[in-house]
């Protein structure tokens, strides 16, 4: 047992971080409004972002779930926009998805992100979807009619294959478990990023003649943020290694919580600044809320886990 990142995995994570830092700026994306940067989408495709789990024989990168999770964690850190999960799921089977030439979305629970910008909807079934004004300025959303909010395709207890040949054909149902794990990985990245933002601010910002990070009340907020992110990391990485559906349910639950609560605590540490449009904190919080609304809800995950006890 060696439950740590390999050298290759560290290199992959570092490479994706560099790529996103060099190419994606969340503030510029905000100025663009809710249109997708197709040039960036193509660059992500060229870098192998979408074809990561497609076998090498089929022109993909041929890596597994753990690597996919690391890449999506970086996307979450950077607040990368677009229907990442849908395009990733379609990469093995839908011409043009892997290369980023075709933008693919899918419904996740009762929500469909980026429907108007997508070329293809994986799994279909979005007739009558209603657009609404999204809380997250960087994620346009449609709501599916008649869904009570818990509609979510789920498999019986079992394991996901380690690497999936031809992930999800366009005609197939969306693999809700794989989607949830990727969303959980994004949440993990966001939770880690807001922790970094809070710690940096707490070291720089002075009040009463000293850095606010010296005050226990602020320290304890930051310490709990780290605890949340590390517990979620254990759950998300392990779920990626085992592919166990119950572990994925636990990972989604804990990663949603880490992302939402860390963003809230980050906002609190930032004080009045945290309540402004100018600080990035609200972008993380709003996206975390959106991701928590995609796929498994907390209630659903808890019921699944309880049923297995």
């Amino acid at each position: 047992m060696d439950f740590q990142l390999t050298e290759d995995q560290r290199a992959l994570r570092g490479g994706v971080r560099d790529l996103l830092e060099g190419r994606f700026d969340v503030r510029a994306a905000l100025d663009e409004g809710s249109s997708l940067d197709r040039g960036l989408w193509k660059e992500l495709g060229d870098a192998g972002f979408f074809s990561l789990m497609v076998p090498e024989a089929d022109g993909g990168v041929g890596l597994g779930l753990p690597e996919a999770v690391l890449v999506f964690e970086e996307a979450g850190r950077a607040l990368l926009t677009g229907p990442l999960v849908g395009t990733f799921l379609a990469a093995g089977s839908l011409q043009g998805a892997a290369s980023g030439e075709v933008v693919v979305t899918c419904s996740l629970g009762s929500l469909v992100p980026w429907l108007d910008e997508a070329d293809v909807v994986l799994g279909g079934g979005v007739e009558g979807a209603v657009p609404f004004r999204s809380l997250d300025p960087l994620t346009p959303l449609h709501r599916l009619p008649g869904s009570g909010g818990f509609a979510h395709p789920s498999r019986p207890a079992g394991r996901l294959p380690k690497a999936r040949a031809g992930v999800g054909a366009a005609a197939e149902a969306v693999d809700g478990d794989l989607a949830d794990l990727l969303v959980a990985a994004e949440q993990l990245g966001s939770g880690g990023k807001t922790l970094e933002m809070a710690v940096r601010y707490a070291r720089e910002r002075t009040q009463f003649g000293r850095a606010i990070g010296g005050f226990q009340a602020v320290k304890h907020l930051c310490a709990q943020m780290l605890v949340r992110v590390e517990v979620a990391r254990g759950a998300v990485y392990a779920a990626a290694v085992t592919g166990d559906v119950l572990e994925i349910a636990g990972a989604k639950l804990l990663a949603d919580e880490a992302a939402v609560h860390n963003a809230r605590d980050c906002l609190q540490v930032h004080g009045g600044m945290g309540f402004t449009w100018e600080a990035d904190v609200h972008l993380h919080l709003k996206r975390a809320w959106v991701r928590a609304g995609l796929g498994r809800s907390a209630a659903q995950a808890e019921e699944e886990l309880a049923a297995a006890l």
């Binding site: 000293r210 226990q216 320290k219 254990g234 392990a238 636990g250 639950l253 995950a301 019921e303 006890l309």
Partner: protein, 387 residues
């Protein structure tokens, strides 16, 4: 990232399982949990069986009398012994997890030869004499003094929360060998002594916990003579020596307990299905959430163990992060047990009742949650020191 165990590790697990299956039925009946002399005899009998089978001090280095097992083998050992319902380390806790590893790491060859074998064989029990009435969380403020008199230290002062003092043969004792001054800040001037508990001048007064147990005591020291040869590490270097001990405490102390909590959670669900409480969706969801918690804490344990294996067996700072979440999750588990049992939770003879009471100490012992949060914030996140 790999969660599969090697063939060698699986062999080790299979041998251990077979031994546990043979050995556990031979054990005498468990003593009353409040009977510490009875518990000492029981726990040390278990330790002796471990010793005879070659499982004593599994994770200790071979040159300290241990088995030199990898952190992963130690993890398997704790997992399997807990799953099989084997006795807990109990009265041997301080010797095996604190004093022993400290002496193994910092002691002279003579000290290792004198103190380590009896711990491993289950012959001698250690207690922990760290805290004082005015030096609990602020351990460095301790005031128990030790003067040199020839080849002895003369020790006077008092200790509190001295774990297992009632039944101990030795005490890992922290004393101040140089008074605090401008030249000697409070973290310096402390020394680590092995004090024999039968020395004249020691008075032990057991403290009764809210669970009714006397697992720790007050200890009064009146000119107790301790040989200078019993000092582990250099004079005035006791703080650093102690940090070695505490890193072991935070790194490994709770591994088996996560396994135990997952077992109890399963029992709670079975009980709730039996007594009708399962129909309560709020309770059901609460148990589901705890399942995610303990699942993640087990994975975090494996993460920390893998990290310590890569760094050569030294427990990392991840222990503080783990303890912060685990101690609260354990308390929530027994709160949920109270919900499941209803009026039954008021029965002191129900095993979960005593566990519920003892879980209250988890956010206090071995560094309160508040102190742990300061440690995490300052040492891991790099926030400035302050109040």
């Amino acid at each position: 990232m790999d969660l599969t165990y090697t063939e060698e590790e699986e062999d080790f697990r299979a041998r251990l399982r077979a031994w546990l299956a043979r050995t556990l039925p031979e054990l005498p009946p468990r003593p009353d949990p409040l009977d510490w002399p009875g518990r000492r005899a029981y726990d040390m009998g278990w330790q002796r069986r471990l010793y005879d089978a070659g499982y004593a001090g599994l994770h200790w280095p071979a040159d300290a009398g241990g088995q030199g097992a990898t952190p992963t083998q130690h993890l398997i050992f704790l997992e399997e012994t807990e799953k099989a319902g084997a006795p807990y380390v109990g009265a041997n806790f301080v010797g095996l997890l604190h004093a022993g590893p400290t002496i193994a790491s910092e002691g002279t060859p003579e000290q290792r030869a004198r103190w380590l074998p009896p711990v491993l064989r289950g012959d001698e029990v250690w207690c922990q004499g760290f805290s004082e009435p005015d030096a609990g969380s602020d351990l460095a403020s301790l005031r128990t003094r030790a003067w040199r008199d020839g080849d002895h230290y003369v020790v006077s002062g008092s200790k509190i929360w001295t774990s297992h003092a009632e039944v101990a043969d030795w005490c890992e004792l922290l004393v101040r060998t140089t008074p605090v001054s401008e030249a000697v800040p409070k973290h310096r001037g402390i020394s680590w002594l092995a004090m024999p508990m039968d020395a004249p001048g020691i008075t032990v007064r057991p403290l009764r916990t809210l669970a009714g147990s006397t697992e720790f005591a007050e200890m009064f020291l009146d000119e107790v003579r301790v040989p200078v040869a019993n000092r582990v590490g250099a004079e005035n270097d006791g703080w650093r020596v102690t940090m070695v001990t505490l890193s072991y405490e935070r790194g490994t102390a709770f591994v088996g307990e996560v396994v135990a909590c997952r077992r109890v959670l399963g029992e709670l669900a079975r009980e709730a299905r039996k007594n009708g409480r399962w129909d309560d969706a709020v309770l059901r969801r609460r148990l589901g959430r705890l399942s995610a918690e303990f699942g993640a804490l087990w994975r975090l344990t494996q993460w920390n163990v893998s990290e310590s294996q890569r760094s050569g067996g030294v427990p990392g700072v991840g222990g503080s992060v783990f303890k912060l979440r685990y101690s609260h999750a354990r308390q929530e588990l027994y709160e949920a047990a109270g919900e499941v049992l209803g009026a039954g939770s008021l029965d002191l003879d129900h095993e979960w009742t005593l566990d519920r009471l003892s879980s209250l100490s988890y956010t206090i012992a071995a560094g309160t949650s508040q102190i742990q949060q300061n440690i995490v914030a300052e040492r891991i996140l790099g926030l400035p020191k302050g109040r």
